[in-house]
Amino acid sequence: MSALPLSPARRPVPGVFVALGLTLAIGWLVVAIDGGQLFNQSTTVSLLHVAAGLGFVAVGQTLVILGGSLDLSVAYVVSLSTLVAAETMNGSNAALLPAIGLTLLVSAGIGLFNGLLVTTGQINPFIATLGVGLLLKGYLDSRYDGPAGSTAPALVQTLGYQRVGPVPLSFLLLLAVAGACWFLLSRTRFGHHLIAVGGDPEVARLSGVRNDRVRVTAHVLCSLCAGLAGIYLASRLGSGAPRVGTEGLYDLESIAAVVIGGTALAGGRGGVVGTVGGVLLLAGIDAIFNQLAVDAFAKQVVRGVIIIAAVAVYARRALRKADR
């Protein structure tokens, strides 16, 4: 066990939180000069809601990336989950729990399939999950021509719109999920194994880790998180939406949030805490640009620059550490 790399819990606070603090401070100032208010209640609530949706997906994505894999099918899993949830509930509170169960089961099944393709099928995760994404896209495209189903009112009123002060319930749930993943990664054997597999699969195998099983589990957990995002979105939207995942760009944005949060795309280094920071940073930029009413296209450019810059900074740090 001692040969395995340090768990993410023992690493210092990821730099993304410094960037987040700076961004929000500068944003607050600029918005204030513009005559606005960045941190009023409604803006904060909006920001945290946007963060929650992306957050679930990104936390799951962190797990697969840590394990040296990748999931490009999450956007479609999110869309499918909103539909499974909303159609099963069909507006009735009584069907709430079975619907949530079925949704998680379906998404876990997709994760299992992804995992098996990557491990047993020996298909590169990029291609495997891209292919599974296409399979799901075809199903969604041919089966649905618009929103369908109806989310149980109880879920809409709680997960969808309930909040504690300025903090939506969904964001608290995200924190809970992220906390659970943090615990999983830093305090359990699975977590250590996952990081070992992502760090160096050969070494991990030699030290007795069952690489395939660990990777499959990571894929299942990732899809479960995407399923959770789907349930949350169904509660937000009031129905299932066949395009919500792709329109939200959850595949690429979740990967962006993960790498901004300091997790190495190579696997084996990073953690969910940074990812939550990355998600908040992306949502914060959204909020600031909203307040300033700047074109979304300009925001796109800024996002691109931030993603590259953030990772360049991490790379530099890692290099300096290696020099010492």
Binding site: V45, D145, L237, A241, R243, V244, A293, D295
Partner: protein
């Protein structure tokens, strides 16, 4: 082992390709074409006979309002009282926009900005937030705008069903809410502004093409994306028209709005069937590419419909096409601003506010062609009298 798997692969390939030809997918909502002669398959579950009948009736209705300003006209108006919203100006007007990600929305938004500029003395601030085509973001955007002391809220929803709760929440704050383009599933907004709609659009194009093509001829339907409500209504109306006219719809394909993909599809269909006698499209974005595919293959361009984008109108004129352009006019982006000011004045407005939806035909084609505007500009913008024309739209 190797050989066995290769055989399995080949069989699977064959099965995949094979089964796709014989069995139309047995889902209630499927919109794909069935084999030749079997009509266009089942109707979409979103098809609403009452709405369809209403829209078709509206196509022949006479509008009330100034004749030279279709954006202020209303078809069969039902006026509602708005005195409770009366307020002294100048106003702060907020707008939650679904997206700006295509030329139609760009032209529309520029038209709206110009309308705001034209009403400059009455509007002290115009706040615009764009949701980038994300339902989730638009819900958050609307919630965010509610904390900004707006005098009126304009919403152009990204998706009808999913934005309904957010719009309802906005109504509950007592703010006058104006919805346009796509609707919401609630009556709470003061008014809902849109042209006749997708059934009208789809019907006009389909009826023209099916009348002009040879009886029983082969028609190719080119659609942009599946699952987009406004486009689904266009297709479902077209289906009705094609089934009624006994047109053989040989293919319904999605182009993603990509001209190169469109040309490949048309090319392959031309090869497969020898001739295609009619083309129907649910939006004009790739109409020019479809026309070019026929031209490049050395075949006559069959009766076709496009939209009011200038590149299509130009090709239509130059190549002497048998064509029609139903429109979903971008001038509807002016109306919400006008409506907001009327509501804040306490004047009556029509609810719903149905705008006329003109069609460009061979007869009036010349009046819409403007060689000086960019190729993807929409002729039906109703923007020539607005400040900054034409530079703002170039």
């Amino acid at each position: 082992m190797k050989r066995c798997l290769a055989a399995v692969a080949a069989v699977t390939l064959l099965t995949l390709a094979g089964c796709a030809t014989d069995t139309p997918v047995a889902t209630p909502s499927s919109t794909e074409s069935a084999p030749a002669g079997a009509g266009t398959g089942e109707q979409s579950k979103f098809f609403d006979q009452t709405d369809y009948d209403n829209e078709l009736a509206l196509l022949d209705a006479t509008a009330t309002g100034p004749a030279d300003k279709p954006w202020e006209q209303a078809l069969n108006p039902t006026l509602v009282d708005t005195t409770k919203f009366k307020k002294a100006g100048p106003y702060k007007i907020c707008f939650s926009n679904a997206a700006l990600n295509n030329p139609w929305r760009q032209v529309g938004y520029k038209t709206m900005q110009a309308e705001v500029a034209a009403q400059g003395d009455r509007i002290k601030e115009f706040v615009h937030v764009e949701a980038e085509g994300k339902d989730q973001k638009q819900i958050a955007d609307i919630n965010d705008l509610l904390g900004k002391d707006c005098d009126a809220l304009i919403v152009s929803p990204n998706t009808t069903a999913t934005l309904t709760p957010a719009v309802e929440a906005a109504c509950q704050t007592g703010l006058p809410v104006i919805v346009f383009d796509r609707g919401v599933d609630t009556d709470c907004p003061v008014t809902f502004i849109n042209p006749i709609g997708g059934y009208g659009f789809g019907h006009v194009g389909a009826e023209f093409v099916s009348q002009r093509m040879k009886p029983g001829g082969k028609l190719l339907a080119l659609r942009i994306l599946p699952g987009v409500d406004v486009l689904e209504t266009r297709w479902s109306a077209a289906k009705v028209a094609f089934d009624k006219a006994g047109v053989d719809v040989v293919g319904v394909e999605f182009t993603d709005g990509d001209p190169a993909k469109t040309k490949k599809i048309v090319d392959d269909y031309l090869q497969r069937y020898g001739t295609i006698d009619g083309v129907w499209m649910d939006a004009g974005a790739v109409a020019v590419a479809a026309v070019e595919a026929f031209q490049d293959a050395g075949k006559p361009v069959p009766p076709i419909n496009g939209e009011d984008q200038l590149d299509f109108l130009k090709v239509w004129k130059e190549a002497g096409l048998t064509a029609i352009a139903p429109t979903y006019p971008t001038y509807q982006w002016r109306t919400p601003i006008i409506a907001a000011l009327r509501i804040l004045d306490g004047q009556q407005v029509s609810s719903p506010w149905k705008l006329p939806q003109p069609t460009i035909t061979q007869e009036n084609l010349d009046s819409y062609l403007d060689a000086d505007m960019p190729p993807l500009h929409y002729a039906m913008c109703g923007c020539t009298d607005l400040p900054g024309y034409p530079q703002r739209w170039k």
